[in-house]
Structure formats: structure tokens, C-alpha cells
């Protein structure tokens, strides 16, 4: 779960990390009033949880409350990477001497958290690391030791600070780490971490990505999590389904993320356009299957539904029951291409064939059939 900027900064503030004076607003009038309370110049920043906001025109500067008003008018209602801008952060713009980067993230290869520090900030760390690898240091952290003060000092030294600045940075880095761990963050980064012309360090922007699997330890975030989802994703999450909107017309239901992705790939190979990613997960109950099928039946974008279930934990009879329940309860009929093998396979096939739904053995046969159904010309899809 990605926190937006002002949420991330609220977390940092709670850990004593300096951030610019700022006010969150959701309307043009509020924006004007906020600017009146702050010292110019101002930064007006769209609050959407995506990276590359700045490049997409989501961060603008103003020198008067009136100018803030104009900018707010422009930003509110804008879409950035498909997400509507519903709130803005109006901040005092500081005079900056230097921009740095500091972050803690999970490293898959190292199987632990790593500290990332950069002598340069303000742009994506991947970009800096590619362009000037010598400006970026990473350090593996022993998860039982955590980020010790001396690790923080190493980062500050790498950034070429000494004396009191070193000790200030040590404190800030330790606080960032502590915030990250307390919030179960997969990623917490302050970028840019700015050194102001008067020698203070301030978090100008921050990202926190909370581990979705750890949300049960953060009840306050759990609610927000649902608010952030698209209507389809929210409906799916209610039923424990993993769902992602895609832009095609062929609805896809599979069990297992890898199989779902592979199915999407094969649909593409055979000339189809998937409408979604929908993984019912392991050991899905008839209710969960029914919810999945219902979602796609009710989605007008979806012309045909391809169901590709390979039973491991999932039982085929339960899958069949779920499909039948969804068809009955919605009363909607769409062409179905079903592939169903695994535990209690025969039983599942029998239940479906009683309703005239034929079941095939192979994933590729099902995909070919489904793509043909979308095309509606009586021919199956072709491998391209």
C-alpha cells in the first residue's frame, strides 16, 4: 500500500524528522486559505500515490496565494497516471543548498533490508544509480541488528558530511529506519532530503510503501487501503480475490498468480485482449469463485469469460459449484471457455456439462476457444 506524500510526511513528523510547513487541501478555496497561513514562495503538490508526479506536471510553484489558487484550480480534477487528483499539499518552498537521497527497502537478492544513500537526490534513485553509480551506496542490514547508529553515520559520511551535520543526519536516518520498521514498510525513502541554505536537513518529499501482508498489524491503514482501490479492485478484495483491471474484452479467471499471468500471455499470443487479471488464489471456496465469475458477468467490458483452473488446493467440484451459483444468481449469460483439471475433476466437469458448459483439458485449447468466442466468427484463436 502506497501512502501519498502528506501521509508519508505525517509519519516522518511523528518520528521527529523535519518536513516543510504545509497544509493538505481538497478545494481551491482551502488552497487559497492555506497559502495565506504560510510563507511564500509555495509548492503546490498533487497528492497521488505514483512516482514521477513532478514530470507529469503534478508539482507546481507559486509566489502568492492568488497564484496558488490558479494552480490549485488546474491540478484538482487533473488525472496523473490514471489517478484523479483529489487533494493537494500546499507547502512553503525552502531555499535549498543540496538534494540528497536516503531510503530503506527490501532487497530480494540479499533477502533482507538494505540502506540506500545517495549524494544526489530529487530524481528516481534508479536513474541516479544508472547514471552515476559512484554516487549511490547500498548496505545490507542484518535484520536482527537493524540500522545501528554507525550504519547511519556511514551513510552520512558517504554523503560527505562531518561534525554536527553528521550527527543530525545520523538521527534522521535512524528515525527513518524506525518509522519504516514500525510501519512494516517495503520501501521508505526521503527524496529529496534537502540541505537548506541555513544548514538544516528537511524531507522535501517522501514515499512509504507498506507491506500489504502486514496490514493486519496496522488497522488504521487497513481502512485507507480499501479507499484507494478502484471499484473493481475493492469488490475483489472483499472476496479475497487478486484483481487488476486491464484494457481488453476477454475476462480471465485463474487460480495462482503465475498461471494467471501465463494465461494472459497466452491470450495475447493467440490474438486476444485480456480484460483483467483475476486470481482466485489457493483453495478458493465456491463463494469466492462465484464472486469472481459474478464480477466479470457484471462488467460490461467483458464479452467472454475464460476460466482456467488447475486444482491443487482448489477443488474442481467447488469451482463448478461457484460458476453455477454466479450464473444462477445474476441471470446473466456470457460465453464461457472453461478448463478444469485437478482434485475432484470428474465431478466438476459433470456439474458444468449438465448446464451445457463444455470443459476442455488444456489451457491452450481453452484460450484458443475463448479468443474465438470473442471474435465471434466461429473460428478459434490463432498462435501468432
Amino acid at each position: 500500500m502506497k501512502l501519498v506524500e502528506y501521509e508519508a510526511k505525517d509519519v516522518l513528523k511523528r518520528y521527529g524528522i523535519p518536513v516543510p510547513q504545509g497544509i493538505v487541501v481538497t478545494s481551491v478555496e482551502e488552497a487559497y486559505k492555506a497559502a495565506c497561513k504560510l510563507k511564500p514562495p509555495f509548492a503546490v503538490k498533487a497528492q497521488v500515490p505514483v512516482s514521477g508526479r513532478g514530470k507529469a506536471g503534478g508539482i507546481l510553484f507559486a509566489y502568492s496565494p492568488d497564484e496558488v489558487k490558479v494552480i490549485a484550480e488546474k491540478l484538482l480534477g487533473m488525472h496523473i497516471k490514471g489517478l484523479p487528483v483529489k487533494s493537494l499539499l500546499i507547502e512553503e518552498k525552502l531555499s535549498i543548498k543540496k538534494e540528497l537521497y536516503f531510503g530503506i527497502t527490501v532487497s530480494r537478492v540479499d533477502q533482507t533490508y538494505i540502506m540506500i544513500a545517495s549524494q544526489e537526490g530529487g530524481v528516481d534513485i534508479e536513474e541516479i544509480a544508472e547514471r552515476s553509480p559512484e554516487k549511490v551506496m547500498t548496505l545490507r542490514l542484518d535484520p536482527w541488528l537493524g540500522l545501528q547508529p554507525y550504519h547511519a553515520r556511514l551513510a552520512a559520511r558517504f554523503m560527505r558530511y562531518s561534525g554536527d551535520a553528521l550527527l543530525s543526519l545520523e538521527n534522521i536516518f535512524q528515525s527513518i529506519y524506525r518509522a519504516g520498521m514500525d510501519y512494516d514498510a517495503e520501501l521508505i525513502e526521503v527524496n529529496p532530503l534537502a540541505e537548506t541554505i541555513d544548514g538544516n536537513f528537511v524531507a522535501l518529499d517522501a514515499r512509504i510503501v507498506v507491506d500489504d501482508n502486514a496490514l493486519f498489524r496496522h488497522k488504521e491503514l487497513q481502512e485507507k487501503y480499501f479507499e484507494l482501490l478502484s471499484p473493481h479492485e475493492r469488490e475483489a478484495a472483499k472476496h479475497d480475490l487478486a484483481y487488476v483491471d486491464l484494457d481488453g474484452d476477454l475476462g480471465i479467471i485463474c487460480n495462482g498468480a503465475g498461471l494467471t499471468m501465463a494465461t494472459i500471455d497466452v491470450v495475447h499470443l493467440f490474438g486476444g485482449r485480456p480484460a483483467n487479471f483475476l486470481d482466485v488464489g489457493g483453495g478458493a471456496s465456491p463463494e469466492r469463485i462465484a464472486a469472481a465469475v459474478k464480477m466479470l458477468l457484471l462488467n460490461p467490458k467483458v464479452k467472454v469469460i475464460l476460466i482456467n483452473i488447475l486444482g491443487g488446493i482448489t477443488r474442481c467440484d467447488e469451482v463448478a459449484k461457484g460458476i453455477l451459483d454466479a450464473l444462477r444468481s445474476t441471470g446473466i449469460k456470457k460465453p464461457l471457455a472453461v478448463r478444469l483439471v485437478g482434485t475432484n475433476e470428474e465431478q466438476g466437469r459433470r456439474m458444468l456439462s449438465e448446464l451445457g458448459i463444455s470443459v476442455v483439458d488444456s489451457m491452450e485449447d481453452a484460450v484458443r476457444q475463448a479468443v474465438g468466442m470473442v471474435r465471434g466468427d466461429g473460428r478459434d484463436g490463432d498462435y501468432r
Partner: protein
């Protein structure tokens, strides 16, 4: 034979009394896996399919020789269950549980490395040496003993491919799911290393997916070590959008890293044959093994 598990491995099931634990204990027993005990706190003294249940791993270890554990414990408690197995000397721990917070997983893996134990998973279907031993949840009827090793990040996709191999007359030495989470105990490299030394494995299938760079690291390893056995790979997720999590916590393309192209290119460079779709794998393997 095969790697890691064989017919002599004694196994405990942690979380044996839950729905999944009971169901798969039955299936593993039917497959011939030597399940000697189960553990569920508060259920000690009961039995599941004839397997005695204990409250703690320590008690199970006291009564039985134990080589491996399979964990079905719910996510909030799974990491501690793994530590329990590890602290009691169990050297192979298969964590089926999904949705374990990565912070917890990281601690478990770090502890396992320190004491020289092996973690498979989390979020894995487990491991099977067909005809001998299954410590996992895979539908075992699709596997046949043979000479091809398989390493996969995803569960059902690996079943899909195993089934297609078996249908094509290609049996498997050992199939291992390393797990779909961002951080897992064994990497492709760890398993490739074991397969290299396994006399019964003649070729290896790598089933990767978008997210992370374990596949790229595997490619580097293959080049550096001049890996001697033929390899075929399939990478899922070529057509998924970036920055979206695809079910698996591990399957997400972030910025430049984690894309299917990057993985496919790296593996190609390492001489690994790339399958376009799952059914191609058997075709490619036949060609390679015949050579």
C-alpha cells in the same frame, strides 16, 4: 534420489489440524511421505489421519526423528512456527503459508542461514521428488519420476508445466517451488547448484515471472559457473502492466527492474532456451536431451 527430499525423509506438519493441514496431510500420506507427527498449539494429544499431534515441535522431536517440517500455520503466526522448527534442529522447513509479512520472513531466513538450515518458501507449493516423497500441496498425480528438474516461483503454473511434461513422457527428478513472495529462502541459484550435483537430473526447467531479479542473477550464475546441464525457461507476465501487483506479492514490475523482457534477455544470453508458452517446454526439452 533427486535433491533435498527422498523416501527416507521424516516430516512433521505444523498447523496439521487446520483445514489445509488435514487435507494435505492425508494426500502426502497417500503419496508415501513419512509424516511422523503434527503440531498445533492447544491440540496436543489428538490425532490427524493417524498422525499424533503435539503442542510444540520440541515434544514432537522428543518422540520422533524429524528431518523436515511443512508449515500450514496462518500468516500472523507462521514466522514463529518456522523459528520453532529451526530452533529445534529441523534442517528443511517448507513454508506453504502465503501473506506472511516480509519483515517476518526476512528474520526467519536470516536465522536459518545462521544455523545452516534450509527454508523453502514462503508461499510455495512445496517440493516433490516424484514417486518418493512430497512435502507440499501439489496435485501429485500429474508428476512422474524422471530426469528433469524443475524450479518455479509460482504454484499452479508449475503444475501446468509438470502436467504437460508428464503428458509428453518427460518425468521429473525433483520439482521445487521456491515461493511467490518477494523474499524467499531458496533462490534459483541455490537450487541450480543442487541440481548440478544430482546424478539423476539431466536437464532443468526454470519457471520465472515478473518482479525482482532472481532470474537475472540465475543467468549470471549460469554464465559464471559455465553450467553444464541443459536449461529451459518460461517467464510469466510478459503482458502485465508495470507498478501493479499481480496476485503474488513478488510479481510486480517496478520501474526498470523486474520486467519479463529483462529476464528473458538475461537467460537467453546465458544460453537458456526460452519457451513462448508452457506447452513449448516439453518440445524444447526433448530436443535438448536428445542432443
Amino acid at each position: 534420489m533427486g535433491i533435498i527430499v527422498n523416501r527416507d525423509v521424516s516430516v512433521i506438519v505444523q498447523g496439521i489440524t487446520g483445514r489445509q493441514g488435514q487435507f494435505h496431510t492425508k494426500l502426502m500420506l497417500e503419496y508415501g511421505t513419512k509424516i511422523v507427527a503434527g503440531v498445533t498449539p492447544g491440540k496436543g494429544g489428538t490425532e490427524v489421519h493417524g498422525v499424533p499431534v503435539y503442542d510444540t515441535v520440541a515434544e514432537a522431536i522428543h518422540e520422533h526423528k524429524v528431518d523436515a517440517s511443512i508449515i500450514f500455520v496462518p500468516a500472523p503466526f507462521a514466522a514463529s512456527a518456522a523459528l520453532e522448527a529451526l530452533e529445534n534442529g529441523v534442517k528443511i522447513v517448507v513454508i506453504i503459508t502465503e501473506h506472511i509479512p516480509v519483515k517476518d520472513t526476512i528474520k526467519v531466513i536470516s536465522y536459518a542461514k545462521r544455523i545452516g538450515a534450509m527454508i523453502i518458501g514462503p508461499n510455495t507449493p512445496g517440493i516433490i521428488t516424484p514417486g518418493e516423497c512430497k512435502i507440499g500441496i501439489m496435485p501429485h498425480h500429474i508428476y512422474e519420476p524422471g530426469n528433469v528438474g524443475m524450479i518455479s516461483r509460482s504454484g499452479t503454473l508449475s503444475y501446468e508445466i509438470a502436467a504437460s511434461l508428464t503428458r509428453s513422457g518427460i518425468g521429473q527428478s525433483t520439482c521445487i517451488g521456491i515461493g511467490g513472495d518477494p523474499v524467499v529462502g531458496m533462490s534459483f541459484v541455490d537450487v541450480l547448484r543442487l541440481f548440478r550435483e544430482d546424478p539423476r537430473t539431466d536437464a532443468i526447467v526454470i519457471i520465472g515471472e515478473v518482479g525482482g531479479n532472481l532470474e537475472e542473477v540465475a543467468a549470471e550464475y549460469i554464465i559464471k559457473e559455465n553450467y553444464s546441464k541443459p536449461l529451459v525457461a518460461f517467464i510469466a507476465g510478459r503482458y502485465v502492466p508495470p507498478e501493479k501487483r499481480m496476485g503474488h506479492a513478488g510479481a510486480i514490475v517496478m520501474g526498470r527492474t523486474g520486467s519479463a523482457e529483462s529476464k528473458i534477455n538475461a537467460l537467453k544470453k546465458a544460453g537458456v532456451e526460452i519457451a513462448q508458452k508452457p506447452s513449448d517446454i516439453a518440445v524444447l526439452l526433448k530436443r535438448l536431451i536428445r542432443r
